[in-house]
Symmetry: C2
């Protein structure tokens, strides 16, 4: 695949690389922070990609048929901004607003910018996202756009990168090109592999890539490598670019202790040195950008609903994990862009039910959950699919109620973790009807959704016609003049109902609330019921006490005078045993609830 | 390195493997759950390791000089228990108590058992722990014990495994032997590489290992490979064992859909078939176990203290991350077993200060944080060192107060996550004096400790002589008849103090509390001060509202009638900007606090 790159193009790409370098120096000097040396090592890669290789539209940076670019080393944001500015998307002068509070040109890229699909900056995550995009391009869009991901050599030590490489190799994603910017230096010392290019090559080849080692500052070599990547079929390509951190910055290039530092007083001198090397006679205007082939189909990801409503009998015993699988299949039946991902647990979580609707709409990610999440984000971020993933976004097998497998298999921190994600929605359905609706609602909700399903069978408590929405709880049991209100979710809601029966025998009236979502939590309902029930609230959860249901209720009621909240939760590392025994043993079974309720009423 | 294994040993090891197989079938049948087929694939590996290769003491399973064994695929726990039982540690009959609530023989191994150093079962974590043990053996203990880690092929897709392999290769841990049980089948489908042994070999070699492919059911080949591993210098060894899931189980071996299933009614027939193949005439008694060489030194990890007390001037501006570094160096000066780990951020977190005391006591883990945590656990779990790690156990650069780098660099969920870990202690020092003491206390505290340090300089507010302890807060400002109490931590404590000054000008008296630890939180002090201050509590944190300081305070006060808690926290994904501007912008600066306090008092 010898492709010749004409001298004029070579000269232009070189000069453009230097323009990007200079822009990055200026922008980080203006913000007095940032990573100009990390930009300089990848300047030629960026000029080749943005001004010769990639096909995209300035008029619509998120165009469905355009090539994708993911900057995994997000701290090199200034050169990404510079590339789009030099391409003509916005004025180059705007780069001087880098990192200012009123500018979207933040320290690391975020999707507030119309040319950024996913936020990067947390190292090691970009390649998984790129894999998700490439998988969708190849298998769902069946379109010709390509996906490029630029990875720093420091972050290539992250295990998530190797999970993603394995995924790309396994699925032979030949529409993916991973570029490693191997500039030898980390933040605090050289990387462990430094410029040992042959080790990189061996690793990438062993992971199923066509690997090409290049001088990352030679635009001719780079262009040839990109052309070779485009014409390599049956496997993804990795371009291993040997580069220098701070390349072309005199006295700074390839030196330690220049990570994340603007050049300050040295900037003028460095810019002058770079400008002196630039070749005169090449254009200084907006360069040519290749048009994409408009071959990605229109899709509708907004029309999300169950193909048929829930169909259960009241009191029927169904595990919510199974109801989730049933709902997933129904959602997939209705919308061809509903897909599911799992990490070799599809027969436990019931995500395999989508395979009966369409085997192609299931992506097996094997036991590599970080990559699974990244692939799901990549598959969903451009509005191309509605990805449902297990382990992460649907957590079955939560809590001590899984039983004999023991504590390492019991998710007891999942609510705390998912609640703490900004903009997240946390569903915790307690029966099959509400679980099917949770699965449906999740597909329509922006931001990260988590559905906590349960392993054991639980009784159906809602009519099939019951309406559900995020942030809206349900009073599932009440009496005139209740003495207290109990809030449970999942298995503990059913324990709360049993406790309410027991308490009635002792003459204590206990209302029971199903919050349905833990985030947002139904503030108004809780305030109303807490007030009605003498300010006595008892929460019970199959979760550690921190950050879960109890704290969600306590914090939403924290500004109410005259309300007390008693929190029942798993307060030690649990152990193996039968689920029903464990619930009582760890103080969240019906008896424990009834006992705590009696004490609360006696206060 | 041709080593002959005599026929008698071969026959005995084969029979022992079959005894382990049969034990695993019986135990999982008794518990009606568990993974007998996952045990069967590794039976020969276990018999060779436990009855020929490893040196250890039954009288003291955690003996400091004994070889270490980590079962990364923790779901194969029954065969681990069986190996120790057949070795003579406890009666083989006890295996029938597998997974019962009153037995420590849980579904997955936990360190409640005296022969288990770390809990496994969450896949992909064992090799990092083994790396930590091997690093300590080679560089700190300088002893001859070896570390063996058995990894499942399914879990070898986890990125954390590749982080660990890279670490082992980089540090040439030739006292480490990783054994891959490549039994071809995952839980729900074949693994992605199935029996493609040459791909495994290439990957392992590219990661710096001496890789040996063997028939994992041939004890002679296994013994030779283990001998070769022991005599291979300058690099770690990986034994890539081609095995079959359910090996020797007729109609089950190498078949799908037998993951995690006891044999039930088929058990007798299978046991019979195995017994028929066993060679008569070999011993059925307790096999020979090699004695360890007693060459690991005695160490004292309990004597943890600062070599000199804090020495700051009141009001001096010092970042707590810097005070942490200073304390780390002082702790290292006092105790030679204090070590530090970091992931290429040592010049930002100041963990590099330990290098001035002793460069060898610093372990660079590069940008691979999962492995960093595992290595720290491995280094600490046998009481051989007191590891301090950054990114995980000391989180500097938390919150919006880091400023311009933007949201991907701001830890805003860290408190929620660390609080949710059972048995954890979460320190959040607000000045240099308390930070030095937090570092000291963490070294003496069991369980996972997290110290949240801050990037910006904050004023010293404590005398150098002030005493600190976990769970004990401090009233840093109070007046007669306070109208409310404000709880802040880190940067927000200083904002709270400024707010208290502002409020005084409006005639409102605000007490200020520094909780010092967020978990445990000082319940008694908070109840007392909340009561004294008219039941009005205002919390403010540089963290998302879920699971952090506010919810910790709200939940500990939840059972108090007549107390209200108002929570100020970062309620949206933040953005780049100067730290002091961001604090006000996101509603956690002094002005925002004062405003919220005024509203609270007016209620």
């Amino acid at each position: 695949m010898a492709v010749t790159v004409d001298d004029k193009t070579v000269a232009e790409l070189r000069n453009l690389a230097d323009r990007l370098r200079i822009d990055s120096i200026r922008a980080t000097n203006a913000s007095k922070s940032g990573h100009p040396t990390s930009c300089a090592s990848m300047a030629e890669i960026m000029s080749c990609l943005f001004f010769r290789v990639m096909k995209y539209k300035l008029s619509e940076p998120r165009d469905k048929s355009s090539d994708r670019f993911i900057l995994s080393k997000g701290h090199a944001a200034p050169i990404l901004y510079s590339a789009w500015a030099e391409a003509g998307l916005f004025p180059v002068e705007d780069l001087m607003n880098l990192r200012k509070l009123d500018s979207d040109l933040e320290g690391h890229p975020t999707p507030r910018l119309n040319f950024v699909d996913v936020a990067t900056g947390s190292l090691g995550q970009g390649l998984s996202v790129a894999c998700g995009m490439a998988y969708v391009g190849k298998h769902f869009d069946k379109a010709s756009y390509r996906t490029y991901c630029l990875i720093g050599d420091g972050e290539s030590a992250e295990g998530s990168i190797w999970e993603a490489l394995h995924f790309a190799g396994h699925y032979r994603l030949d529409n993916l090109c991973a570029i490693f910017d191997i500039n030898r230096l980390g933040q605090s010392e050289p990387t462990s592999l430094q410029h040992n290019m042959e080790v990189y090559r061996k690793r990438l080849e062993a992971f199923g890539f066509h690997a090409i080692v290049v001088d990352g500052h030679d635009v001719e070599e780079l262009c040839k490598a990109f052309d070779e990547a485009s014409s390599t079929l049956g496997k993804p390509t990795a371009i291993l670019a040997k580069t220098y951190k701070g390349y072309k910055f005199p006295t700074i290039s390839d030196e330690l202790d220049w990570h994340g530092k603007p050049l300050g007083a040295k900037a003028d001198e460095v810019i002058q040195a770079i400008e002196q090397q630039m070749q005169p006679g090449t254009s200084t205007g907006v360069p040519h950008i290749a048009e994409p082939v408009n071959d990605a189909p229109e899709v509708n990801i907004d029309d999300v609903r169950l193909s048929a409503p829930p169909a259960y009998k009241m009191g029927e015993m169904v595990a919510t994990r199974l109801a989730y699988g049933t709902a997933l299949a129904k959602l997939a039946e209705h919308n061809p862009r509903v897909i599911a991902l799992d990490g070799d647990t599809k027969n436990s979580t019931y995500s395999d039910k989508i395979k009966k609707v369409s085997a192609e709409r299931y992506i097996e990610c094997f036991i590599a959950e970080q990559n699974l999440v990244g692939v799901a984000i990549g598959a969903g971020c451009r509005g191309r699919t509605i990805p449902y993933t297990n382990i992460t976004c649907v957590g079955s097998h939560a809590g001590v109620s899984i039983g004999e497998d023991g504590p390492s298999q019991m998710a007891l921190e999942d609510l705390a973790m998912f609640r703490a994600i900004p903009g997240s929605t946390v569903f915790y359905p307690s029966d099959a009807v509400s679980c099917e609706r949770a699965a449906e609602l999740a597909g329509k909700t922006k931001g990260i959704c988590f559905i906590r399903t349960s392993r054991p069978n639980t009784a159906v408590i809602y009519e099939n016609e019951q309406a559900f929405s995020a942030g809206k709880g349900h009073v599932v049991r009440n009496h005139d003049e209740d003495d207290l209100v109990i809030v449970g979710a999942g298995v503990t809601l059913h324990e709360a109902l049993k406790a309410s029966d027991m308490l009635m025998e002792s003459g204590i009236k206990a209302a029971v609330i199903d919050p349905f979502t833990i985030k947002p939590i139904d503030h108004d309902l809780l305030v109303k019921e807490a007030t009605r029930c003498n300010g006595r609230v008892l929460t019970v959860e199959d979760h550690y006490p921190e950050g879960g249901l109890g704290e969600a209720v306590a914090s939403t009621l924290a500004e109410q005078r005259n309300v007390i909240v008693k929190i029942l939760a798993v307060r030690e590392v649990p152990r193996s045993g039968p689920p029903e025994v464990l619930l009582e043993h760890f103080g969240i079974g019906a008896k424990a609830i009834a006992e705590a309720a009696k004490k609360l009423v006696a206060l």
